[in-house]
């Protein structure tokens, strides 16, 4: 896999997340696409060995931004790095179906990330939509200010509705399309709640080894049996495809 060394041009805290901007002019970014990224230093240091997948948070034709949560050592090092290494945009993002009417966008925790570009696209196409965001507590929920008008829920009730992101919605059945990103248990719940909808697309989060289809590490179970790779066939899947 080819990595490009890029300078971090801007870094800022958004609630408990880190926003990081780097120059990227090599073509457009679809909502839901991701990059593999790591702190530079390789191969002088061979640990951590793998890059990590991150959805695009924003892209303006000149700068790409990632928004991430520090979880383990990969994100810890990324949070400190002044130079990072990234791949070209990867995977299949959300396919927008403008004819299906009002859309619901659901983000769970750091799963808000791909919703920003998605929302801009929906706006550009005049597709009416509502955004619902769920968080553990008020700290990460601070990122909701980037999504004006969004319904917010927190698990501890410290901001917005007390409960999950689904508790912030009335019913998903009124929507012609549902686009969701978040931890897999949340996605499974969204899939159940959106059962009757025409279109429900989920951006899944699996561990990735390569990001380019080579390792077969990132699979999700599919209806009818077997597994498919979330880095190539996804990370966004029509909910019908997934055997969840």
């Amino acid at each position: 896999m080819k990595f490009y060394g890029v300078e971090v041009e801007e870094r800022q805290e958004l609630g408990s997340y880190t926003l990081l901007k780097y120059p990227w002019t090599d073509g457009p970014v679809e909502p839901g696409q991701f990059v593999m990224a790591r702190a530079a230093g390789y191969p002088a240091t061979l640990d951590p060995f793998l890059a990590r997948p991150f959805s695009f948070y924003d892209y303006d034709g000149r700068m790409a931004s990632l928004l991430f949560e520090v979880r383990g050592r990969g994100t810890m090092l990324l949070d400190l790095a002044s130079t990072i290494e990234v791949t070209a945009p990867l995977g299949k993002g959300f396919r927008i179906e403008p004819r299906l009417g009002r859309a619901a966008l659901l983000g769970g925790g750091i799963g808000v990330v791909p919703l920003k570009i998605l929302r801009r696209r929906l706006n550009a196409m005049d597709v009416p939509h509502d955004v619902f965001l769920g968080f553990a507590d008020a700290r990460p929920a601070a990122v909701a200010r980037e999504f004006p008008g969004a319904g917010v829920a927190t698990m501890d009730g410290s901001a917005g509705t007390h409960g999950t992101v689904l508790d912030a919605t009335d019913s998903l059945e009124v929507y012609g399309a549902v686009y969701a990103c978040g931890p897999n248990p949340m996605l499974a719940a969204v899939k159940r709640a959106a059962r009757e909808n025409g279109l429900c697309q989920l951006s899944v989060e699996e561990r990735m080894g390569c990001g380019n289809g080579s390792c077969n590490g990132c699979v999700v179970p599919v209806r009818g049996g077997g597994y498919i790779r979330s880095c190539i066939e996804g990370p966004v899947f029509h909910s019908d495809v997934l055997a969840w």
Binding site: M1, K2, F3, R38, Y42, P43, A44, L46, D47, P48, F49, L50, A51, G74, E206, R207, M208, G209, C210, G211, N212, G213, S214, C215, N216, G217, C218, V219, V220, P221, G225, G226, Y227, I232
Partner: protein, 302 residues
């Protein structure tokens, strides 16, 4: 670190089992997908897709991979469409270089069957036997658990595909004895080594994460030792595999006795062109051609 255009005036070609290879690099089975082929143009001397089996295998449920210090553990479970589906898609792997096909079966008969099928396919230049899979006739011990079963499966495959080179891929455990057995049963080459059995846990969740095989730079010194020891006792060529990340690593494997070298996990994190370029710079500096490097240590320890 990246040195471009270092290939001019350097002889990268090697010969493996009578096959001329443009470069000594080969993708390790299971680490290069059809989708990524566009990225590796010009790097490899032969193509080697993921192991195929007689019938479709769905593979293991996730999580299938976990990162470890300077490496990773995988338990993919040989997910593949089965040999017939595999062969239908094989043309996509034609980059104008020899194609090697890796096979695995549950029984000796399945291995032989796969070899028979490949024997009749002109696109296939050589067969690699992945012996790190369980032998259901031996209580699930892997085929390379001991020289007896190695000999048995290699002999059966030898008979089934008399016209193509057979490469036998071995795991680290018992590698020297197993290499001898494979050679005496008719192997034309040995791939050394496959991943090393390993386990990862999530301490916080108190559960097993992945039980599988360790790959990546962490295992390089173990693989180098295996290549060195095996190439000292067999006459067939050895293909090094395990932790190659840089051109210097390629050189180390060849100096240890390998004729060709596989790049696996590293291709997830580096552009393999960089590895080839670094290797070319190494050759330039050392004044040797790739074919002269194999075993070319200046001094041998006691």
């Amino acid at each position: 670190m990246v040195v471009r255009d270092q290939k001019a005036g350097v002889d990268l070609a090697v010969e493996l089992c009578g096959l001329p290879l443009r470069t000594p690099l080969i993708p390790a089975s299971g680490t290069l997908s059809r989708e990524a082929l566009g990225e590796v143009e010009g790097v490899y001397g032969a193509m080697l897709p993921k192991t195929t089996t007689p019938a479709t295998r769905a593979g293991n449920p996730p999580p299938r991979i976990a990162e470890t210090p300077a490496g990773m553990v995988n338990s993919i479970g040989l997910q593949n469409p089965g040999v017939h589906g595999f062969l239908k898609g094989l043309d996509a792997f034609d980059l104008g270089i020899p194609i090697f096909v890796s096979v695995a079966g549950d029984t000796v008969a399945e291995f032989a069957l796969l070899c028979e099928i490949l024997a009749g396919d002109d696109r296939v230049s050589a067969v690699e036997l992945n012996l790190s899979c369980p032998n259901v006739e031996c209580g699930g011990l892997v085929f390379c658990a001991g020289p007896a079963s190695v000999e048995q499966v290699v002999a059966a495959c030898r008979a089934a595909v008399p016209g193509k080179p057979i490469l036998v891929k071995l795991t680290n455990e018992g590698v020297v004895e197993n290499a001898r057995a494979a050679e005496s049963a008719g192997a034309d080459g040995l791939t050394v080594i496959n991943t090393i059995p390993a386990l990862t846990l999530d301490a916080r969740a108190r559960k097993v994460l992945v039980r599988g095989g360790l790959s990546g730079p962490a295992i390089k010194p173990v693989a180098l030792r295996a290549v060195y020891d095996v190439s000292g006792v067999v006459n067939v060529p050895v293909i090094g595999s395990g932790g190659v990340v840089s051109g210097t690593d390629v050189a180390e494997f060849m100096l240890a006795g390998a004729t060709a070298v596989q790049v696996g996990t590293a291709s997830f994190v580096r552009d393999p062109h960089e590895i080839l370029d670094e290797f070319a710079s190494y050759l330039k500096e050392s004044g040797l051609g790739a074919a002269e490097l194999s075993g070319a240590l200046r001094s041998v320890p006691p």
